[in-house]
C-alpha cells in the first residue's frame, strides 16, 4: 500500500523498508549463529598450531570493540540530528560513525596481518578457517556499512537526501547497530572465552 506521496506502508502501519531491514536482520542472525556455532566446535580441533590461546590479543580487540560501540552511539546522534533537521550535526556524526567503522577495520586488518605473520592462515587449521570466516564475514558487513554511511553523507552534501531522510538514516542505523550487537557476541565467544 502506498499513499499519494509514494510512501509505502504495510497493513501494520509500519514502513515496509524498515520492516524489510528487520527481516534482513532476522535472517542474518541465522548466518552468524551458524558461523559462531561452527567456530565454537572447530576452534580447539586443529591438528597443528597456532591455537587461539597463542594468537588472540585481548587488549587490542578491547580497543576495537570500544570503537565499534562508540560508533553505535554516534549513529544514534546522527539519527537524532536528522530527525530534528540539524543537517550540519547529522553530517558530523555520520562521518564520525564511518570513521569508527574504518578504525575498526584497520584494527581487524592489523590483527589478520599479525596472525598471518605468526603462521595462521585461512587454511592452516580448522581454527584459522572458522576464525577468518566468522570475523571476515563480520568485517565485510562493517565495510558495507561504511560504504552505506559515506553514501548517505555524500547524498546529504549533494542535496539528494531530502525525502524520507530520517527513515533512510533510521534503516541504515538499524543495520549498523546489528553489526555492533553481533560483535558484542563475537568478542565474548571468540576472545573472552579463549581459555574456556
Amino acid at each position: 500500500m502506498s499513499d499519494a506521496h509514494g510512501h509505502h506502508y504495510t497493513s501494520l502501519g509500519v514502513d515496509n523498508r524498515k520492516l524489510g531491514m528487520w527481516l534482513l536482520i532476522a535472517s542474518e542472525c541465522l548466518l552468524f549463529g551458524s558461523l559462531i556455532g561452527t567456530y565454537m566446535i572447530m576452534r580447539n580441533k586443529g591438528l597443528s598450531g597456532p591455537t587461539p590461546q597463542e594468537v588472540l590479543d585481548i587488549p587490542v580487540t578491547t580497543i576495537s570493540t570500544f570503537v565499534l560501540l562508540m560508533s553505535s552511539f554516534s549513529i544514534v546522534l546522527a539519527l537524532n540530528a536528522i530527525q530534528h533537521g540539524k543537517i550540519a550535526s547529522f553530517r558530523r556524526w555520520i562521518l564520525a560513525t564511518a570513521l569508527g567503522g574504518l578504525i575498526f577495520l584497520g584494527f581487524q586488518t592489523y590483527e589478520f596481518t599479525i596472525f598471518v605473520h605468526e603462521g595462521l592462515g585461512l587454511s592452516t587449521n580448522v581454527f584459522g578457517t572458522s576464525f577468518f570466516m566468522l570475523t571476515g564475514t563480520h568485517g565485510t558487513h562493517v565495510a558495507v556499512g561504511v560504504i552505506w554511511l559515506l553514501s548517505l553523507y555524500f547524498a546529504s552534501v549533494r542535496g539528494r537526501l531530502t525525502e524520507d531522510a530520517a527513515l533512510k538514516v533510521d534503516t541504515m542505523a538499524l543495520y549498523w547497530h546489528f553489526v555492533d550487537v553481533i560483535w558484542i557476541i563475537i568478542f565474548t565467544v571468540v576472545y573472552l572465552f579463549v581459555f574456556v
Partner: protein
C-alpha cells in the same frame, strides 16, 4: 515520512539517554575484560560473561535500535531470528559434540 515513523520519532529517547547508554556499555565492556583477567573469577567466567554480553546486547537493541519504543512487530522479528539462530547453534553443538564419532575423537 510515514505516520508510524513520525510518531516513533517523538517517542525516541534524546542524546542524554543515548550518552548514558554509551557510558554503561563502556563500563560493562571494561568489567568484562577485568573479569577475564581475575583468577578467582575463572570458575564462573562463562556465566558472568554471558550475562554481561546479554546486558550489552539488550541495551543496544532496546535503546539504540529503539525496540523499546517502536512497533512490537520488530521485536518479534528479532526474537524469532535469535530463537532460530540459537536452535541452529545448539543443533550444531549437539551434532558435533555428542553424535559425530570423528568430531568426538
Amino acid at each position: 515520512m510515514s505516520s508510524e515513523h513520525a510518531a516513533a520519532e517523538h517517542t525516541h529517547p534524546g542524546p542524554k539517554t543515548y550518552a548514558k547508554i554509551a557510558v554503561i556499555l563502556t563500563l560493562v565492556t571494561a568489567i568484562e575484560v577485568w573479569v577475564f583477567y581475575i583468577e578467582a573469577m575463572q570458575p564462573v567466567l562463562v556465566p558472568v560473561l554471558i550475562v554481561l554480553s546479554a546486558v550489552k546486547f539488550s541495551l543496544v537493541a532496546m535503546y539504540y535500535m529503539h525496540l523499546k519504543f517502536d512497533h512490537p512487530i520488530f521485536n518479534r522479528w528479532l526474537i524469532g531470528g535469535l530463537a532460530l539462530s540459537f536452535a541452529v547453534f545448539i543443533a550444531l553443538l549437539a551434532l558435533f559434540t555428542f553424535a559425530h564419532p570423528i568430531m568426538r575423537a
